[in-house]
Amino acid sequence: MWKFTLRRTLIMIPQIIVLSLLIFVLAQLMPGDALSGQIGPDVDPERLDEIREEMGWNDPWYEQYASWMGGVVKGDLGDSFRFKMPVSELIGQRMVNTFWLSVATLILTYLIAIPLGIASGRYNDTWRDQLITGYTYVGFATPLFIFALVMLWIFGFKLGWFPTSGSITPGLEPGTFEYLMSKIYHLILPALSMALITTYSTIQYLRNEIVDTKHKDFILTARAKGASESRVYNRHILRNSLLPIAAFFGFEITGLIGGSIFIENIFGYPGMGQLLVESITLRDYTVLTATTLLFGVASILGALLSDIILSIVDPRIRIK
């Protein structure tokens, strides 16, 4: 157990280093820099060159990489040229929004997936199961962004039930009850759109798991001993089927990151995903590298978390 965790964690270190190198090289390859858009008649090109020199943009790449990484380790992600503020501060605000969006999505996903998965597995091949399977089937084939657009169109614009952009109604005082409610209100539609589409894999997994477990010998034994049907499900089947779901939690993070890029852009929700797209359009590369690095590290940590939980839940994978 500890050996596996240690080995798995050690593997992560080179992963993060390679990721940071990749991102750094990508950023270096990007055409132009944050200053090239400012060239105009009233700007002195020599002054721009001076700034470039001051910023160390003309140093060899490894020196730039070293100073960048040195900053990152200390929590200094550089300054954003477009937003005129330190990147860490800029990201801080956005990250909180994305974090709550992710949490809301995860809660909704499990709230939808677990009852549906259990119902589908327990009463498999009934009309109920077919209905749920049909939903997962369509969910699997529908791209998230199309579904989100339709949701926004219907509930945001046509019915006007939910706000169509932003994360908060302007003018509210932070800390008040209204502020909190407004936050939640702005979260519901984006989170629900994402949850309804991404939930299919958990439902399918849970269903297959329960259908499989149902016919295992230890369940037959439990029944033969006279355990009631609800006891068989609650004590025996669910315990075996729900644990792996917990383990997939870490992998969900990667999915959430991909999803948040679409969701935040469609719902105009000011989070990391929106920031990423903005930073590319505005060529704000310090912001771009920082967001990409953070997203990447989050994915790596998520995978690490899942592997460790899995190794606790299922001892077989420890022996490779």
Partner: protein
């Protein structure tokens, strides 16, 4: 099954048994939903590739300031967009472009993934270990983000370069699947037998191992095709796919990022959404039917 065979009268002439592929084909045709989906796909493809021979892409994407945002009429079957461009024409060309990229990416990821997975699984040991670590790394990269970053740095790209960028970050799933299957297969005696018969590793991998993972490859690639259509249109939707001069289905949808268009000009984005949905659903139907056909092993040959 064995008994049934014995009872049959053996014909004198050399009898050719049906091959694995033809069995899968037969199962597919038996599945009504899958058959309808397949016919739909073939029709769409024929229509799209056929009409795009006639349609002039440049003519369609030319900005016409006198007919901006026109609703569907006789002149413009599905209306026009903010540049006065015919939506129907864009839909046809967009479908063609989307399909072409999706097919290219599926083929390229398929080839890379299958080769990678077969080699890793067949050799096992240290080779497998190193190859899997590399794969793991690609796997944890957030795909959308990296592709967006790549698209941003490649200044001018076309169908091929765009497909290559997508391929670079999409081959891992199939590679991992094939690798685990290859790991199981290589322990079987027929692989060992091939070694004693003097076949080279290359020959064993591609002429002995490959046929035994072929059904898995077909199923996975079909399902990947659907996923790739979604991914491509998603990227175009965010504005990191093709430029407006080469519309894809996602380009039409990206106009809906403008709230005005989303709310009031449904004709621009709804047809494309429906088309993406239908394409993905029908490809999935075919893929799932193939999966059932290869899983169930209800062979009648």
């Amino acid at each position: 099954m064995e008994n049934k065979k014995a009872e049959e009268v053996q014909p004198k002439a050399p009898m050719k048994s049906p091959s694995g592929i033809s069995i899968i084909w037969r199962e597919l045709v038996r599945d009504k939903l899958a058959l309808v989906s397949l016919i739909f796909l073939i029709l769409i493809m024929a229509a799209v590739y056929g009409t795009s021979l006639v349609l002039d892409q440049k003519e369609i994407v030319k900005v016409d300031l006198f007919s901006i945002h026109e609703p569907p009429s006789e002149e413009f079957l599905l209306g026009t967009d903010y540049g006065g461009r015919d939506v129907f024409g864009q839909l046809v060309i967009g479908t063609k472009n989307s399909l072409t990229i999706a097919i290219l990416v599926t083929l390229m990821t398929g080839i890379i993934g299958v080769a990678y997975g077969l080699i890793s699984g067949y050799f096992g040991g240290h080779i497998d270990n190193i190859m899997m670590r590399i794969l793991d790394f690609f796997m944890i990269l957030p795909f959308t983000m990296i592709v967006i970053a790549f698209v941003a740095i490649v200044p001018k790209y076309n169908t091929i370069t765009f497909s290559l960028i997508m391929t670079a970050f999409l081959w891992m799933g199939i590679a991992r699947l094939i690798r685990s299957k290859a790991l199981q297969e290589k322990e079987l005696d027929y692989i060992q037998a091939s070694k004693t018969l003097g076949s080279s590793h290359f020959k064993i991998i591609f002429s002995q191992l490959l046929p035994n993972v072929s059904s898995l490859i077909i199923v996975t690639m079909t399902l990947n095709l659907a996923a790739n259509i979604g991914l491509e249109s998603g990227l175009s939707f965010l504005g990191f796919g093709f430029p407006e001069s080469t519309p894809s289905l996602g380009t039409l949808l990206s106009y809906a990022r403008n709230p005005q268009t989303l709310e009031f000009r449904w004709w621009i984005w709804v047809p494309a959404s429906i088309l993406i949905l239908l394409l993905m659903l029908s490809i999935n139907n075919v893929g799932q039917a193939l999966k059932r056909a290869t899983d169930a092993r209800q062979r009648r040959g």
